[in-house]
Amino acid sequence: MKTSDATHDRRPLEPPELVYLKGETRCHYTWSTGEVVGSFLGALRDHARILGAVCSGCGRVAVPPLSYCEECCSAMEDYREVGPRGVVMSWTRVAAGFPDAPLPAPFRYVLVKLAGADTSLLHLAPDDERVVVGATLHPEFRKVRRGAITDIKWFVPDESAEERTREQ
């Protein structure tokens, strides 16, 4: 809805022109997850485990799981745990921050194919030069999890995860 008056053009016109009306929409949503996505998020939150779904038609394993196969439209009826390790299929480095960015820049977006999955999961990784195509990554789960894909903070190179474990 309209929240403020019109802004004025800088030119000295008499009377001043109306150029823009500022407005905004503010909406709150409560999206139903459905049984399958709901279980995926519940497993992340309660057990720090990642679930995939097996297509009854083409056998494809999708992560995150869906109740249906996006490729052949068959029902996904079998669910299994996948990962936690995965291989980087593609990545990009985000050098500059932007509004609502998931992490402070720099960071990397990665497509990770988790062990046992046929699809790649879009997620985040540190800006580490080892995060390249073919690298094996490991999820770093948050301590306080709320049932969202961001319960995985990011995927880190395998060695660094091990190093961190060793240090602790």
């Binding site: 019109a6 407005g23 049984e35 519940g42 309660d46 679930l51 969202a148």
Partner: protein, 158 residues
């Protein structure tokens, strides 16, 4: 509930989120003139179709009835007749005016198209179609339809 190794006993049923977006709406030539006249001169200006001569609101470059270009600005009275109205009592989030209020379409004298606005200083039980009303202008005008506070019944009405 799915039964799967590693599955949770309590699925996450709902994900909540917000979508807040800010906009800048360009007035354009016609709304610019219309709202400047409201703000600076307390005048309601319509445009007249070059063909059917209908005086239209909101001002626009073409006629909504016959699609011919408009060719002149016409000052309309700030007085008119209520064509239809409703006493709105249902609140909803983000509603610009807090209920209860009376929303009406008013045919300004000289116009071919109704003007949407609020009625004020009127008992909802006495509001009626055909009632004569006049604009009550806001003191602090900014170039929106709220430059008119509302329309009130003219003498001997309401």
């Amino acid at each position: 509930m799915l039964e799967v190794a590693g599955g949770s006993e309590e699925p996450v049923e709902v994900v909540e989120g917000d979508l807040d977006i800010e906009y800048r709406y360009a007035y354009g030539e016609y709304y610019d003139r219309f709202y400047r006249e409201m703000r600076d001169n307390r005048r309601i200006m319509g445009v007249a179709c070059a063909r059917c001569r209908c005086v239209l609101l909101p001002p626009r470059p073409y006629c909504g009835f016959c699609y011919e270009p408009v060719d002149r600005w016409v000052e309309l009275a700030d007085e008119g007749t209520v064509q239809t109205f409703t006493n709105v009592q249902l609140p909803f989030p983000g509603q610009p005016t807090e209920p209860p209020y009376i929303y009406a379409f008013i045919m300004l004298d000289g116009a071919a198209v109704q003007f949407p606005h609020l009625l004020g200083e009127v008992d909802p039980a006495r509001a009626r179609v055909g009632m004569r009303v006049k604009a009550v202008w806001a003191e602090n005008r900014k170039g929106t339809l709220h430059d008119i506070k509302y329309f009130r019944p003219v003498e001997n009405e309401g």
